[in-house]
């Protein structure tokens, strides 16, 4: 065991903490999650999709920036309840959730819909969705009774990409044109993990990986992928004197 200092329970640390300045890691407020989200959104490559997609961040990327996963979850849920953030279930992993700021989502969807005849229905749907509803999927009953949509209207929504089929009579909320995003994302994630695996001893310093030249498979920025694999615990992050070391974890499905 290479622990340099023994772990001390919080109760015994009171005097120490009063004297030293508080750690920046312990003081996490709701504002911090929002600023982390904004930072991660800047890593998203807009130009790749010709500006048709709003910046998308994955929920577990936040885990790589903050230590306490439970408080991250809590704050994300608070932002969703306020209507600032929307969460989507991406198809490939039952635990991978995408987060988009509500305003960005609305502007991009309306921008994509401009000029099409489905515009009116989509606007109506967005108006219902954004302030109040924080569901990830909708079933037929809810659409007909609560939202007062008709069957042809639901078909229009599916055609415009705002809803995707989940199973007979229920739909997931989705981002239009996100198919390309998911395809590049999965390919890029596999390529980055392969880079970590192929390096000597199966481990590589995070700064070194960021500087690695990106292969043709990796379309997003390296930092975006690195936050993602760290947060999903597909690699083990170890603190060393030369920075963070990422070690490949055996037994990954990918």
């Amino acid at each position: 065991m290479s622990r340099k200092r023994a772990l001390i329970a919080d109760t015994f640390c009171l005097t120490k903490r009063r004297r030293c300045a508080a750690d920046s890691v312990t003081a996490d407020g709701a504002a911090d999650i929002r600023s982390s989200l904004q930072y991660l959104m800047t890593l998203f490559s807009r130009k790749l999709f010709n500006d048709s997609l709003p910046p998308v961040v994955l929920k577990h990327q936040l885990y790589s920036l903050h230590n306490d996963k439970t408080s991250v979850d809590k704050q994300v849920n608070e932002l969703r309840e306020n209507g600032d953030l929307l969460m989507f279930q991406l198809g490939f992993d039952s635990e991978a959730f995408a987060l988009v700021f509500a305003e960005d989502y609305r502007t991009k969807v309306l921008q994509g819909e401009a000029g099409r005849e489905t515009l009116g229905t989509v606007e109506k749907f967005l108006a219902k969705l954004i302030p109040g509803c924080s569901d990830l999927s909708f079933n037929k009953e809810k659409m007909l009774k609560e939202f007062l949509f008709t069957d042809p209207a639901i078909t229009q929504l599916v055609k415009s990409g705002v809803l995707t089929v989940r199973d007979a009579g229920s739909w997931w909320l989705s981002i239009p044109n996100s198919g390309k995003f998911i395809k590049y994302f999965i390919k890029g994630r596999k390529a980055v993990l392969g880079m970590v695996k192929k390096s000597k001893y199966g481990e590589i310093l995070k700064t070194e990986l960021e500087g690695h030249h990106t292969t043709s498979q990796v379309k997003f920025q390296m930092k975006y992928h690195i936050h993602e694999i760290m947060g999903a615990e597909l690699v083990e992050s170890i603190q060393t004197t030369s920075g963070t070391l990422l070690r490949y974890v055996d037994g990954n499905v990918n």
Binding site: M1, R3, A6, L7, I8, A9, D10, T11, F12, Y63, N67, D68, K69, T70, V72, D73, K74, Q89, S94, E95, D135, L136, S137, F138, N139, R166, D167, S170, A232, E233, G251
Partner: protein, 400 residues
């Protein structure tokens, strides 16, 4: 630390507070101790460990070779270097030994006269500790994965048994009957656990990804099923609605006060549930690596202020804070997969057993004695070194 002692002495603090703070400090300093060893008897992996409740002195272990061993954990020699001896074994030479691997052993909760073991040879045997012969044997149709007796039951002595059959069977030790069946699961039952708070509440975990809570006094089905999304049907895909995990659920553990239940699943997640309402408390422990095809035995600390969960993760034991979900440390020391771990609440020690046939004892690292203690000892001379200065008085004499 001195402030705690002073507060306790002057009555400012509750006596429990000092005890909890010290227990927590000891658990945080758990380390592999080269002074403490456990006899190596098993020839194959160790599947299960159980310490008796009354004294915490004797420990049972069951192995993949069908052998059951009883160890004495108490250190009666005056030296710090101590090996926990195996007092008796039900070895391969015994006539009544289990034919295949022993999956679960448990002491009778009220005294050490009896223990129950269940095994992959489709039987569950109730042993007499004195003679090491089975007093009762229950036959089942499929492999028995786990069994549990309620630690608080006074009036009933039911053993809940989880087998390959989706029906949970309750065997009565007093009458030998096994007619009580709990129906509801659709897959093999990998783990059963009685609540330490009520003697009629039972939790069962199965390969159909569901955890059910039962009240055994009722004739109807389960009380409720644990739902990881707390009823929010929109989050899950339609097959995964109302499931506790996205894979097989293979471990269950109640906290010491019985108010919370922990479950681990092969989706590499561990979840904390409110055992009264069945609500998922959404504490996020991150990825808890779990590849076990049968049950996983993990444990929760008792008597500490933030409680800790000790989960076997691959070849090490991971220690998580119960309510915060953060990974405190990983206890590394085993050479192969760890299958079970057991916490000793009085000494804050952890015993873990695994496929490498070793039982490792994790003991809190004590503070090093100060230099002044050595000086006073040498001044007084060698003969009186064994007497604690606190017990010395001025009027008794050793010459009588």
């Amino acid at each position: 630390m001195l402030s705690f002692l002073y507060a306790r002495q002057s009555g400012l603090d509750d006596p429990v507070r000092l005890r909890r703070a010290e227990s927590t400090r000891r658990v945080l300093s758990l380390e592999l101790n080269h002074n403490r060893d456990v006899d190596r008897i098993h020839g194959n992996g160790i599947n299960t460990l159980d310490t008796e409740v009354i004294d915490g002195r004797y420990m049972l272990s069951g192995g993949s070779d069908g052998v059951i061993v009883i160890y004495d954990l108490e250190n009666n020699s005056k030296k710090p270097q101590y090996t926990c001896k195996a007092i008796c074994t039900v070895g391969r030479s015994s006539r009544h030994v289990h034919k295949f691997s022993v999956e679960t052993v448990q002491w009778y909760p009220h005294d050490t006269g009896m223990f129950v073991s269940s095994s992959f040879d489709k039987t569950m045997k109730v042993w007499d500790t004195e003679t090491l012969k089975p007093a009762e044997e229950f036959q089942f149709d499929g492999n028995v994965y786990c069994h549990h007796m309620s630690p608080v039951a006074r009036k009933q002595s039911l053993v809940a048994v989880g087998t390959k059959d989706p029906k949970v069977q309750l065997c009565d030790l007093k009458s030998g009957s096994r007619i009580h069946i709990l129906q509801g699961h659709r897959g093999e039952i990998l783990s059963v656990r009685w609540s330490p708070r009520y003697d009629h509440i039972l939790a069962t975990a199965s390969t159909d990804s569901r955890v059910r809570i039962w009240d055994v006094r009722r004739a109807s089905g389960s009380l409720f099923t644990l739902d990881q999304h707390n009823g929010d049907k929109s989050k899950a895909s339609s097959e995964a609605v109302n499931t506790a995990h996205n894979g097989r659920v293979n471990g269950l553990c109640f906290t010491a006060d019985g108010l919370h239940l922990l479950s681990t699943g092969t989706d590499d997640r561990m979840r904390l549930w409110n055992s009264g309402t069945g609500e998922n408390t959404l504490v996020n422990y991150g990825k808890v690596v779990n590849e076990s095809r049968k049950g996983l035995k993990f444990t929760v600390s008792r008597g500490c202020s933030p409680e800790f969960v000790f989960v076997p993760c691959g070849s090490s034991v991971a220690v998580y804070g119960l309510h915060s979900g953060e990974l405190i440390t990983m206890l590394r020391g085993h050479y192969n997969n760890v299958d079970c771990c057991e916490f000793h609440p009085d000494y804050q020690e952890l015993y873990s057993g695994g496929k490498d046939c070793n039982i490792l004892a994790w003991v809190p690292v004590l503070r090093q004695p100060g230099i002044e203690d050595d000086e006073t000892n040498s001044k007084r001379g060698g003969t009186q070194a064994a007497i604690n200065p606190a017990f010395e008085d001025a009027w008794s004499s050793d010459e009588d």
